[in-house]
Amino acid sequence: MQLTRRDALALGGAALSLAALPMRALAATDMVGEAITAFTGGADVGERGITLTAPEIAENGNTVPIEVDAPGAAAIMVLAAGNPNPDVGTFNFGPLAASQFASTRIRLAGTQDVIAIAKMADGSFVRASQEVKVTIGGCGG
């Protein structure tokens, strides 16, 4: 089997990203798990009825626009799984909220999953997550 330089690069790249992702995830996993448990009390978390909108690629991790929407939710918690502190914020919707929708701008320390968990009016929980790739700048970074 002959490996061209390009193959080697591609394979190397694949191996690197495989190796890097779990490590990055591991660092914050406990804190993410603790935050989720604190919010849900350990209840089962479904996947329907919540939408998280975030860019696939953020041009700068310092200001990343996100939207959460979970019709009928009492509250939505947002986590950034790869940040040194995964907490981002929690939206609690009052009786005069016309929808359970909110949009804001967040900081992401690097490429990672953004997670939104909604607490529904009946006490159940649903979650959505999306990976956001955070790019580094041209020269200055």
Binding site: N62, A80, N83, P86, N92, L96, A98, S99
Partner: protein, 109 residues
Amino acid sequence: MATGVKPRVRVPKSASAGEAITIKTLISHQMESGQRKDKEGNIIPRSIINRFTVDFDGENVIDVALEPAISTNPYFEFEATVPASGSFVFTWYDDDGDIYTEEKAITVS
């Protein structure tokens, strides 16, 4: 740290009863995360707005808990329903104890 903090809100001047209206807010604030270091290598202490609430004539629209991962100059967009003419009160709570408020009246027909 809380110098030059200036809240801005955008609320329609009028709406019909029960209509969903879009509200946007932006407040100038550094949102110092507590993760950064200064030139001497010392941690710059955290100094953020940690809570933002919106009420309409005493009833709540939204109550947000903010963490240091919210970007500089915190921006929010959300929707409210207004039953009758009245005023929105927007309140931002700073780590340093300062509270910034803004009020906007809306006419409901």
